[in-house]
């Protein structure tokens, strides 16, 4: 467990690297998380993916099929892997909780 801070907002990261709580989260916090995860720049393309993942989670409480994310953005089927290599990185930057062992194994 690690506690981080951005502009006086504290947020906790669990041992797996996932944000402990859904809030606070905003684009600035996403940038802090991205830097921590070794993603150099959160381009617009990457940020779009992150936002769709977050939106999806808020509605379905699940990890989306990656194709759904790309279709939403009207991008190629492999867009998440092209941008992040490991889709879990995008998920972590989106500030979403540990999706469970089976998702991690299959994603």
């Amino acid at each position: 467990m690690e506690t981080m801070e951005y502009s006086k907002q504290k947020f906790e990261i669990d041992d797996g690297g996932f944000l402990r709580n859904l809030f606070p989260w905003n684009e600035h916090i996403a940038c802090v998380l991205a830097e921590k995860l070794g993603v150099e720049e959160l381009t617009e393309g990457k940020m779009d993916i992150i936002k769709v993942m977050r939106q999806y989670y808020l509605e379905f409480k699940s990890f989306p099929i990656l194709g759904v994310v790309c279709k939403n953005l009207d991008r190629s089927k492999n867009c998440v892997k092209e941008e992040f290599v490991d889709p879990l990185i995008a998920w972590k930057i989106a500030g979403l909780p540990n999706p469970g062992e089976e998702v991690i194994a299959y994603v």
């Binding site: 509605e59 379905f60 699940s62 469970g100 062992e101 089976e102 991690i104 299959y106």
Partner: protein, 532 residues
Amino acid sequence: MADKEAQTVTAGAAATTDNDKIQAMLKYDKIDYQTVELTGEIILPTEPVDKCFAHIKPQLLTDKKLLANLGYPTDGLVDNWKEVFLRKMDEMLKKYKSVRVFMDICVKCGACADKCPYYIGTGDANNMPMARQELMRKVYRRYFTVPGQLFGNWMVKGEELSLELLNMWYTYFYQCSECRRCSVFCPYGIDTAEVTMAAREILNSVGLVQKYLHQIINNAQTMGNNLGMQKNAVINALEFVESDLQEETGIDNIRIPIDEEGAEILFVTPSADFFASPHIESLYGYAKVFHQAGISWTMSTYASEGGNFGLFIHNYEHMKKINKRIWQAAKDLKVKRVVGGECGHMWRILSSYSNTMWGPFDWLDQRYPIPEHICEFTLNLLKRGALKIDKSANDEFIVTMHDSCQIARGMEMGGTEYGQFEIPRAVIRYVCDKFQDMPEDTIRERTFCCGAGQGLLGDDMLPTRVKGAIPRMQAYTAAKQAHGVNFIALICAICKAQLSKMFPTYGYPMEEVGGIHQLVGRAIVLGAKEGV
């Protein structure tokens, strides 16, 4: 001052409980793994490949709510663990007579020793099947035989219960994928997987519960699928697949029906088939087969999972509860047939255990197999020319087939002898021109595990997975060298996930891994009118 001293004493005392000690012993550490050079030869190790295997501990489940749901202790190792351990073991030996027989009849001939993929991969003598089972046998001899009870360890080469022994159990019963390859070679027919299953359930009863496996059992029992997807997420995923399929084929009425009452067939498949890659490609294949056959079918959001991890531990209740969802969905949706997709242990449970748990299924159409495997279903259509096939769609592939353990060493398929080997191969031959088997001692009933079956697919098990995959990787390499094979076809979701991770790890493209219905889906000519 006195208070401070008292606190120190308490803290000191807390650090020495058995639970604290075992938690320290089983602490998960990320361990680096090493691959081997692929030569196409399976070489038996003469010494341990590296020394790390005694230190590989899968993560423990610590979520109290989950543990309580599953009926296991919530605070780690229970105080009276020795008592609980022996009581549970006694229960296992009485409930599953087979386990007791297997404890008694091993003569340590060593026929199994070099048959285990984990032993071949790690060279760790504790991974020899008889050595793994010996971990339980020595407890059995000490506590459950008369000479052991009367005269103790020296008489029966037994062992007292200790934290060290628990540590060994947790380590090595989770370096076994219950693939049962060793059982094929055992002259007494000892089913070593049953011993592992019993051992895991005994560990659970004292509070040492492996995270990956049990989190999934809980997901399947509460959400209906291993991935823990809510109903609306399952619907969203299947609707996406359907629209993608319609777009790709240009056919508007090709469908993935969901919860449609009165359909002819209930189709159950692992949730990975509508989540992961390459699994999803097979889902396209199934949908194309059903569409072209013109048979009404449906998937269920209630039984949105074919897999059943309850099999992997000797806890019949978990398995029964998960399995019930399938037959309940079949009843509720008033279907006439149940067809299962590409999943190894799902098929073994559906075909070998379901009838005992929830049968007889006299309310289903008796003219068809109950249940029916998708390969069997597709082969029947192919045999009577009901599907038009363009093999040239798969011309780029020289295909081989990996027999998944739970199917290969399960009961049967199609009601025919060796159907589980012949039916999937026949489907491949109908849709591909070029098929080559891997070496004889690595396929069919002697097939090697993918290296991640039965609860070992977690990321925390990567070092074990990388080593356990060695025999399969070498066999694939041999087929590549001899015949130029460039595609391995499977009918198991776990094998697909494991191999599509191991292939890049060993330097092969992950696109060389896929399902049999992925190949069917590519070759099927939609809209053709022949046969149907």
